[in-house]
């Protein structure tokens, strides 16, 4: 694809593909040495540099990177190109077309989610509920807004906050007394209603705005909700937040009481289900809720509404011209996303039992958005998987990295992921098709942009320019 003319003209060392890759890998090595090295101090700003770069760490990290480069280099010299059959691409392609495999995978994942958690340690159970479960629900909701309707919402966590504070209000743990105190399960209804109202209130005036303007307005909304919660000492208890939010419980009108005659086996259950400090029951509750939400949303995806959202996302004017009621549908997407978030808020509030404005800072909105895009915007499977992986990732680093440093790795993963798999972990079918089509039809007129293409061809984009050829042209 690279025209030889543009490549040959640039013959400086910096324009040599291998030299460039070498420099960036060495830089990465230094970065890793710093990242894993000592912490800095307030008085001696160069302490971290000295401690990390003068230790054995630096040669090891840089050495590894140079080795990596050498492997690349030799690989390219020899022009080793594996056929798709060997690399397994063809095999994977064939697998993908078999519905059985897909179902097996789903069954395996659901089975693992059902069976495994009791065997995990208490810590991991808590992570599963407080992080993974909650964020999967949040991400599934945001996926409707961003992934399907294409509305960039940066204040999504506000609805989570509204859900949580509604729970606190209706369980009587805020300074203002509610008209009646209810079980957190019943609070779900009120939380969903509150979020619907908030979503419509925010959406009605703002949904006329285009992409980035909508983003900043929703961001503002998120901050407003947080600051109101922070400053409203009289009704939200300010920075102290709400404490002792009760756990949910269900008492069924019937119990199960029976004895098996002959055997000494007796069931005596009064029909009550209680959730408590223990994380495991919450996990199953969240699993049921997530399954429900995912099922409902997946029904929506290819329905008339879902297709209308796609139309709006792709071209709002064209959608409107074709009779799609854009404002109403955008509001619907907003409201559905908001109410899902509200449900997550209820569960979070009653699980943790304590909420404060610090739980609802802008960064969490951004994180949820990152999970959605990491997983594959618009693909429910991807979003659920992405949220689960990225929320669990920092916890895996727990034994090796200080808590404060963990987001650094999250950031690095996000950047790398976007470079190498911009459509996400499990790309939505439509988006994937778009990207491949775009790459295939890349106009030759854009050769100025293409002239010094630093990376080798995309790993999975089929017949792109051969990297070996491009390098050969440069020398």
């Amino acid at each position: 694809m690279n025209t030889n003319g543009t490549v040959r003209r640039r013959t400086g060392l910096w324009h040599n593909e291998d030299a460039r890759r070498f420099v960036s890998l060495v830089a990465t090595g230094v970065l890793i040495a710093l990242l894993t090295g000592a912490d800095g101090s307030q008085d001696d700003s160069l302490l971290a540099f000295r401690e990390s770069l003068l230790s054995i760490r630096l040669p090891i990290c840089v050495g590894l990177m140079v080795l990596l480069w050498a492997v690349f280099y030799v690989g390219q010299r020899r022009r080793i190109s594996l056929s798709p059959a060997v690399t397994g691409a063809a095999f994977r392609q064939r697998l993908r077309q078999m519905p059985v495999v897909r179902w097996l995978l789903i069954v395996a994942v659901v089975g693992a989610a059902l069976v495994l958690p009791p065997f995990l340690s208490g810590f991991w159970q808590t992570v599963l509920v407080n992080q993974v479960g909650i964020y999967v629900l949040l991400a599934a909701g945001l996926n409707v807004v961003v992934g399907w309707a294409g509305l960039l919402d940066l204040g999504y966590i506000a609805f989570f906050a509204i859900g949580a504070y509604t729970t606190a209000y209706f369980t009587g743990t805020l300074p203002i007394a509610p008209p009646f105190v209810v079980n957190p399960f019943v609070a779900i209804i009120f939380a969903v209603l509150a979020c619907l109202v908030a979503g419509v209130l925010l959406g009605t005036p703002t949904l006329r705005l285009r992409g980035d303007y909508l983003a900043v307005v929703t961001l503002g909304f998120g901050e407003i909700v947080r600051i109101v919660a922070l400053n409203g000492d009289d009704f939200t208890n300010g920075p102290r937040g709400a404490t002792n939010i009760p756990h949910p419980s269900i008492t069924l009108p019937f119990g199960v009481h029976f004895t098996v005659p002959g055997l000494d086996w007796k069931v005596d259950w009064d029909g009550s289900l209680r959730w408590g400090i223990d994380s495991l029951p919450y996990w199953y509750l969240l699993l049921v809720l997530t399954a429900l939400v995912v099922f409902l949303l997946s029904r929506l995806e290819h329905s008339r509404v879902g297709r209308a959202w796609t139309a709006i996302r792709e071209d709002e004017v064209a959608a409107q011209a074709n009779g799609v009621r854009t404002v109403r549908l955008k509001l619907l997407a907003f409201a559905i996303g908001a109410s899902t978030s509200g449900v997550a808020g209820v569960i979070y509030a009653s699980k943790v039992g304590f909420i404060s404005p610090d739980n609802f800072i802008l960064q969490y909105s951004i994180f949820v958005l990152a999970y959605v895009i990491f997983g594959g915007m618009g693909s429910l499977t991807g979003v659920v998987l992405g949220a689960a992986l990225l929320t669990a990732l920092p916890e895996f680093l727990r034994d090796y990295v200080a808590a404060a440093d963990r987001p650094t790795y999250l950031g690095a993963v996000l950047v790398l992921m976007m470079i190498f798999r911009p459509a996400g972990l499990v790309p939505a079918g439509r988006r994937k098709a778009e990207i491949t089509a775009q790459q295939a039809s890349d106009p030759p007129g854009s050769s100025v942009q293409q002239a010094d293409q630093p990376e080798a061809g995309q790993p999975e984009a089929g017949p792109t320019a051969s990297p070996a050829g491009a390098v050969g042209g440069g020398q």
Binding site: L34, D39, S45, L219, E223, I227, T408, G445
Partner: protein, 310 residues
């Protein structure tokens, strides 16, 4: 509310507003050429603060005492240059690592957003690790809070004069640069129509890279001044970054003069609101003002586009 109080808050608003405007220019420049929100720009600002602080510390030590006028000016300019250089370098690396590879692969628009968010999260946590998470202060080498002049009983201090003055100088400089130089012409051409600009011989990659650096220089210098004004910390970029982004949108994102107007206006509104309502609501007021403006002028006060006509 007395006149004095009003003037005092106006001065404060001008100071903050001119810093917002400087940062907002970075958002707007990048938006102009790429139609992307550079979410990592707040980290450029933070790096500028650190860069300036380190240079001042290295030259003068932790407690230098007051310098003479000429020396103080010299160090101030030096610190600003160091901050600008740190900001520019950060922006350049950012474009190289988090933007260019994606551009080469025709990634969808939101992928850029996430890679920028990732870079931002990485950068500020990394800075926190390298230079500790405690707040740090730029050594004071001149009397920062010396009152310079009174307006109706409200005093403007030396640092405020410095910030407002240098910010305006930089804004005029940028405005002229974009309007008259070849680089500015290139930036405007890419903003208007990138493929056509490429056909006319504009090197798009270089222009984009330089646009990032330009925004980084301004943001870095603003970071140093912010450090002089308050403190330097790994997460110092967050709030000013968001405000400046809001300011850029307020003025019409992609519009250079819009960013200046938006920044100043946001700073003023935020501080005026502190007179009438409590200071703790000033962030809410700023965002409500933003929403109100956008409802009546959906593309900001001065409208979009870096290039003159759409």
């Amino acid at each position: 509310m007395s006149l004095q109080e009003f003037c005092q808050f106006t001065i404060l608003g001008l100071t903050r507003g001119s810093l917002y405007a400087l940062i907002a220019l970075g958002y707007t420049l990048v938006y102009g050429v790429l139609q992307l929100i550079n979410f990592a720009h707040s980290e450029v600002f933070m790096m500028g603060g650190f860069g300036g602080m380190f240079v001042i510390r290295a030259l003068l030590g932790p407690s230098p005492g007051m310098q003479s006028f000429a020396l103080a000016t010299f160090y101030l300019v030096l610190g600003m240059l160091a901050g600008a250089a740190a900001g520019g370098l950060t922006a350049w690396v950012l474009e190289r690592v988090a933007y260019r590879p994606l551009r080469k692969r025709n990634a969808p628009k939101l992928a850029f957003l996430i890679s920028a968010i990732g870079a931002s999260v990485f950068l500020f946590n990394f800075a926190g690790k390298l230079w500790s998470r405690q707040p740090q202060f730029v050594p004071q080498f001149f009397e920062v809070n010396k009152p310079i002049f009174d307006i109706f009983g409200a005093t403007m201090t030396l640092i405020q004069v410095v910030i407002v003055g240098s910010a305006f100088a930089m804004m005029v400089f940028l405005d002229r640069l974009v309007a008259t130089t070849k680089l500015g012409q290139g930036i405007r051409a890419v903003a208007q129509d990138a493929p056509t600009a490429a056909l006319m011989g504009v090197d798009i990659d270089k222009t984009i890279s330089r646009t990032f650096v330009l925004g980084g220089l301004l943001g870095g210098a603003a970071g140093f001044m912010f450090g002089m004004f308050s403190l330097v910390q790994y997460n110092m970029g967050f709030l000013p970054g968001i405000k400046a982004f809001a300011a850029a949108v307020l003025g019409g994102i992609g519009n250079i003069r819009g960013a200046m107007v938006g920044g100043l206006l946001l700073g003023l509104v935020e501080n005026w609101s502190a007179i009438f309502i409590d200071t703790k609501w000033s962030d809410v007021i700023a965002f409500v003002a933003l929403v109100l403006v956008l409802m009546f002028r959906p593309t900001g006060i001065l409208g979009e586009r870096l290039g003159r006509s759409a």
